[in-house]
Symmetry: C2
Subunit: 431 residues, 2 copies
């Protein structure tokens, strides 16, 4: 079935085209019907004149319900006042399906109602624009790594054990009473991949069974995790910085229209350039206390702390060398201060919180074996992981970037649940 996409109307001024779409909105004025059509690539206005189209058709267009599917044939002309910049003079139209009364009207709805109707809400302008940005972000990330010689090595979803402890794991009944757990991070697998491919990344859904209802949590979210052999903490930081710059630049380039729909001020996005400020954990603690926020050395940052720290700059803030005690077992110790780890978090500006967590990994087998015991993790499950330190261990590191948090920041969206097509949360797995 061939039609012209609304996004391509600019190439067809003066031509007769066929639009395959849905009625997004309608306004009638005497002998005129103004139909706003959507087809998934954009919006355009089609105008039907009484007398120029069949009388029965004119009448039926006048009572066509919102979200009815309709095929419109007409001539394209430029019209700066029309949404999208073009107008179609209707010659003929076919109503494919008359919609029942559409539940999402123009008035405001509660978020719960909208999430329950997520399958329809996707057709509205804000979700549409947000997910178009998400598409760009994901493509930018993949291109970034592919163009730099990284190999995509997808980590498994089913894992025999937890990477960073077992408290937030989803358990699955595998076969014959065996249990499997849904991945929380592909990192350990990426360490194996980095030793084989030099530079590798995985990019897939990740799961956290956190009983958390904050605006930053989903039980299912997408994460990209690059890992590089022969890399130190500085390399990891430089990679994350370069990647974020490229993601933001790509969205500014490709999604001007979507950012406008979202009423996103683009000035803060245009300010995202390297270098980002790099703050040692010790200095971050000092800055918090100097700023009147009570914070004890050794703790992890909460949302208010991150918020304060991220607002010291108009660029993402890089906090490095967190205390080893609050980080995962595989983090390398800081050779300059044994209490610290070679870890790093990137905090998005404007208070959008942590979007990247990563660091340099410990290379030494003995140290890791000790840590597994200290962290109370099952040694048996990490046997294969230890092999990476038995056969050609090298300095290496990487990070994880949460896609939905990144999209929330770029779109200026308060809650991550709007940044994934079908959000899964504590009390929501429908639709």
């Amino acid at each position: 079935m061939n039609g012209t996409r609304i996004a391509d109307l600019g190439d067809h001024v003066g031509d007769e085209v066929t639009i395959l779409g849905w009625l997004y909105n309608r306004r009638s004025k005497g002998k005129l019907h103004f139909l706003i059509l959507r087809d998934g690539s954009g919006l355009c206005q089609a105008v039907a004149f009484k007398g120029k189209v069949d009388d029965d058709l004119f009448e039926s267009l006048g009572r066509l319900s919102q979200e009815s599917s309709v095929i419109v044939r007409g001539t394209v002309k430029r019209d700066d006042r029309a949404p999208g910049g073009f107008e179609i003079g209707v010659i003929d139209a076919t109503v494919v399906h008359e919609a029942e009364e559409y539940p999402i009207a123009k008035q405001a709805h509660g978020t719960d109602f909208l999430l329950t109707n997520r399958h329809l809400w996707l057709r509205s302008r804000r979700p549409y624009a947000t997910l178009r940005v998400r598409h760009t972000v994901i493509r930018a990330i993949r291109d970034f790594f592919d163009d730099r010689g990284f190999t995509l090595v997808d980590a498994p979803v089913f894992t025999p054990s937890a990477c960073e402890g077992t408290t937030t794991l989803f358990e699955v009944d595998y076969f014959d009473d065996e249990k499997a757990y849904l991945t929380q991070s592909g990192q350990l697998y990426m360490e194996a991949a980095a030793m084989a491919f030099g530079k590798a990344y995985c990019f897939g859904p990740t799961f956290r069974a956190e009983k958390s209802k904050t605006r930053r949590h989903l039980t299912e979210f997408w994460m990209v995790e690059p890992e590089i052999a022969y890399a130190d903490l500085d390399d990891v930081i430089a990679l994350g910085e370069e990647m974020l710059c490229e993601i933001v630049a790509r969205v500014l380039d490709k999604n001007a229209e979507e950012l406008e729909i979202l009423e996103r001020d683009t000035a803060p996005l245009e300010a995202i350039r390297a270098p980002f400020p790099r703050v040692h954990y010790d200095d971050a603690v000092r800055a918090l206390n100097d700023g009147g926020i009570e914070f004890e050395w050794g703790g992890d940052f909460g949302a208010p702390d991150e918020d304060f720290l991220s607002r010291q700059s108009d660029r993402p803030t890089i906090v490095h060398r967190f205390p080893a005690a609050i980080k995962a077992f595989y983090m390398k110790r800081d050779p300059e201060d044994e209490r610290l780890s070679m870890s790093v978090d990137f905090l998005a500006p404007e208070g959008y919180g942590e979007i990247i967590g990563g660091g340099q990994r410990a290379e030494d087998l003995g140290y890791l074996q000790e840590q597994i015991v200290k962290h109370g993790l099952p040694e048996e499950a990490f046997k294969w992981y230890f092999d990476l330190r038995r056969y050609g261990s090298v300095p290496h590191g990487g990070f994880g970037l949460g896609v939905e948090r990144t999209v929330a920041w770029i779109c200026g969206t308060e809650h991550v649940r709007e940044c994934i097509p079908f959000p899964r949360m504590l009390y929501r797995i429908y639709p």
Copy 2:
């Protein structure tokens, strides 16, 4: 940490470079050590002359164990006899880590042993080449859809119910005694997405709890599922055909070296051009019986039937219009024969079996409600899906392509388990 990638040596002939890698193999001959190095981007030969490097170093290189990590500095020269076409004259070297005796030796190992050591086996040539091809296949698929105006709309992994029945579902303990199921297909969600974005696709891991041990089954595999609004069966077939041509052409272009490592005859791949033969189910049944294979009209094809059918052509075989009774509830009926459905399978050539399944979906609400009851599916779970037929239903369709089966075909690999980095099967979720 900066070095030159082996893949880039061609740009550095005559230069002094530093390779950050691992010892893949070694041969010593009097005053010479030939070191085969790998760094994840390729292999190269480094030659150390006694007298030209420090004596202690020369000696230690002579007993360096396989898979030890080593940094080698030296001068690049062209040498057609060397693997990769270049040779490095060693000036200096640093052993980063001396490997214990490497478990994967040059002699043959059983597949079970290799799968248990998958984290190390990735470093070997065949797995490396196969996963490089997988990388290309996935990138080609994403580019294909992105470049044609499709929007990536990731389907959820956690679903409240089964798309095509409940017998092969993995069950997860969600919160507060709620159950969730791991997705078997994102299709129903993509139908919602197609109504919002016109053209949409999802691309993620998919799960089947089949107690199957064939060479074509994984419990976790990657699938891309495009869906188009205002599309009929012919559009779906044309899309699949074009996509497969592009995937194969991309691999031939990017992975000549990998296909050589895999000893893949590329002639059958070079033959993959549109149009592919299109065979009506009725004709397929006839062809089977004419070919001496007993097959009763109404049944689904087994592996031997697919094998026979796919070998009638050197291109993928498109079988369309299967009996409705053996296809999912959402398939549109063939208006020319009510017993048939507007469904399609693509069979890879050379006996690699089904790689695409898809079709045109039923648009009519009443028909779908009836089918849900007939198939014994829980109506409540499909309430949201029915909405897609209440509000602007349109002809639409799409398909699912299994990534690992496609990679198996292109690489000429017998078993799909080698076509995913960390395969999950009936009795395997480790490492």
